[in-house]
């Protein structure tokens, strides 16, 4: 991909090549006049052709045929030097122009195009060797000119070639300086841009750092809220439990115990949210295990051997799902403890939570005494009403079966939020 410097450098080069074409055309036209004066009309015409060729090369540049123009210059210069070296002889000094050939090659092509520079220089070298060979071995006869005329031609060729040489050297020196200046300016601009970018990156990093700090503070705050809610619920649960000790009526004490367990199930939930790193989801398995432990503890005075079997998949619940689920589970287990094993010393409760995509299948079953669900009046039971209410809150499809002597069978299909 060409950079701005490359494009500007190329444009400068084209301008210089055009100036070279005009200069060489001007020099050639001097030779046209001299050849006409000497009566060498045919050769004057050839030189006119060379002059036109140089002008044509400048024209080709204007039409953006740069490659053709360069080739034209190499061919024209080689031809002119060769033709008039052979015509006038070695002593006329036409070959002196070939000493500027490396400069001409470097003028035509960028340093990156080394192959083309070598080819161009190579053509000039071959032309020089051929001219030298023709002169050395007298292969082609040149026209007869007086020593005086030859001397004039030599001085003219020497002067023109030297002028061309110095002009090209000055051009390269100036171009190098301009190029260096361009590079320095570009470098300065790049450095300024780099500094700007560094500042922007530093600002962005700072802003990101601030954001992370705020996020961390919010996480800590949320964690603290869960902790305090848990503690406050624990205090309420504890006070209810203490109140229970002062109640003589067994039924009232049992009701208070159920209330305490409901509060406890929410407290344990907030404790799990406090512990978890994500703060907005909990892994339900560990919560269920802990809830079961506390409910079993609260009913330990019954002295019955009731085993709770669990089969729980790895499922993450948000607070919105976990809260009604925790109360639902508490209700089902409590109901089983209260009513299912009245006439039994032993029993089993089966709890399963199976995940299928974003759907959950919750299954609760006990092998207790069961009851006649079909004729059961729900209005008399807060527990049953709560089971239905929490199932609805989970927006699940509930199926409740209970038969005397078989136990209860509850299933809920619901989608996680």
């Amino acid at each position: 991909m060409k950079t701005k410097i490359h494009i500007q450098s190329e444009q400068g080069r084209i301008k210089a090549i055009n100036k070279f074409c005009y200069t060489t055309a001007l020099m050639a036209s001097v030779y046209v006049v001299i050849l006409f004066i000497l009566g060498l009309k045919l050769h004057a015409l050839v030189m006119t052709g060379v002059t036109s060729a140089f002008l044509a090369c400048a024209f080709l540049n204007k039409k953006f045929h740069h490659s053709l123009s360069r080739t034209g210059i190499i061919v024209s210069t080689n031809f002119a030097v060769f033709y008039f070296s052979v015509l006038l002889g070695f002593k006329a000094g036409v070959h002196l122009f070939l000493y500027t050939s490396p400069l001409i090659a470097y003028l035509l092509y960028d340093f990156d195009q080394r192959k083309k520079i070598f080819i161009a220089f190579g053509t000039y070298l071959v032309t020089f060797l051929v001219i030298f060979a023709i002169h050395k071995f007298h292969l082609i006869a040149h026209i007869d000119l007086t020593e005086e005329t030859l001397g004039i031609f030599y001085v003219l060729n020497f002067s023109f070639s030297l002028t061309l040489c110095f002009t090209l050297i000055i051009y390269f020196a100036f171009n190098n300086s301009a190029y260096t200046k361009m590079l320095v300016e570009t470098n300065k601009t790049l450095e300024e841009k780099q500094q700007q970018l560094k500042e922007e990156i530093s600002n962005k990093n700072k802003a990101q750092g601030e954001l992370l700090k705020i996020l961390k503070e919010k996480e800590i705050l949320l964690q603290e809220i869960h902790h305090r809610v848990k503690n406050n619920l624990a205090v309420i649960s504890g006070l209810v439990e203490l109140q229970n000790f002062y109640i003589k009526d067994e039924k009232a004490a049992a009701i208070l115990k159920e209330s305490r367990n409901r509060i406890k199930s929410i407290a344990v939930l907030h404790e799990k949210f406090y512990e978890t790193k994500s703060l907005d989801k909990i892994e339900i398995r560990s919560y269920v295990d802990e809830l079961i432990y506390f409910i079993q503890l609260s009913f330990s005075s019954q002295n019955k051997e009731i085993k709770i079997h669990t089969q729980i998949d790895f499922i993450e619940f948000s607070l919105a799902d976990a809260l009604p689920f925790s109360l639902l589970l508490n209700e089902l287990i409590t109901n089983s403890y209260k009513h299912a094993f009245t006439n039994k010393e032993k029993g089993n409760i089966y709890i399963s939570l199976i995940k299928k995509g974003n759907n959950v299948i919750f299954h609760f079953k006990d092998d207790g005494d069961g009851f006649d669900y079909a004729n059961f009046v729900k209005d008399n039971s807060l527990g049953m009403n709560l089971v239905e209410a929490f199932s609805n809150q989970l927006k699940g499809k509930m199926n409740y079966e209970a038969k005397k002597g078989i136990g209860i069978n509850y299933t809920l299909h619901f989608k996680l939020l």
Binding site: H227, N231, A234, V235, S237, G238, L239, E241, L242, F245, K264, A267, E271, Y274, E275, F294, L297, S298, S300, S301
Partner: protein, 106 residues
């Protein structure tokens, strides 16, 4: 507030709360003075010393086991506590039945 509730639980079980302190050095002094049967030790205490550090010092002159109480189930501290004379490592709040079960072990 929760310590008040725990105190009530202990009294309801028929036991006596000999002393209640808030920092490690006071806990060590209280155990030296009263020689309790069980120590209900909060993990977080006032001052530099935590409950486990206090129990390490207490173990030098007393065999009374500790029921550690903590705000969250910290595995690192649980491991530290298990190296002391630990009866249980409980997350607050403690159920009455839980305490009853633990006290019956001693």
């Amino acid at each position: 507030m929760l310590s008040m509730i725990n105190r009530k639980y202990i009294e309801m079980m028929g036991h006596r709360v000999i002393d209640a302190v808030t920092n490690g050095p006071d806990a060590i002094e209280a155990v030296k003075k009263h020689a309790p049967d069980i120590i209900l030790m909060d993990l977080r205490l006032d001052g530099q010393m935590d409950g486990i550090d206090a129990m390490i010092e207490i173990a030098k002159f007393s065999t009374a086991p500790a029921i550690y109480l903590t705000g969250n189930s910290d595995e690192e501290n649980k491991t530290r506590a298990s190296k002391t004379n630990m009866l249980a490592f409980c997350v607050k709040p403690v159920h009455f039945e839980q305490l009853q079960q633990l006290f019956s072990k001693v």
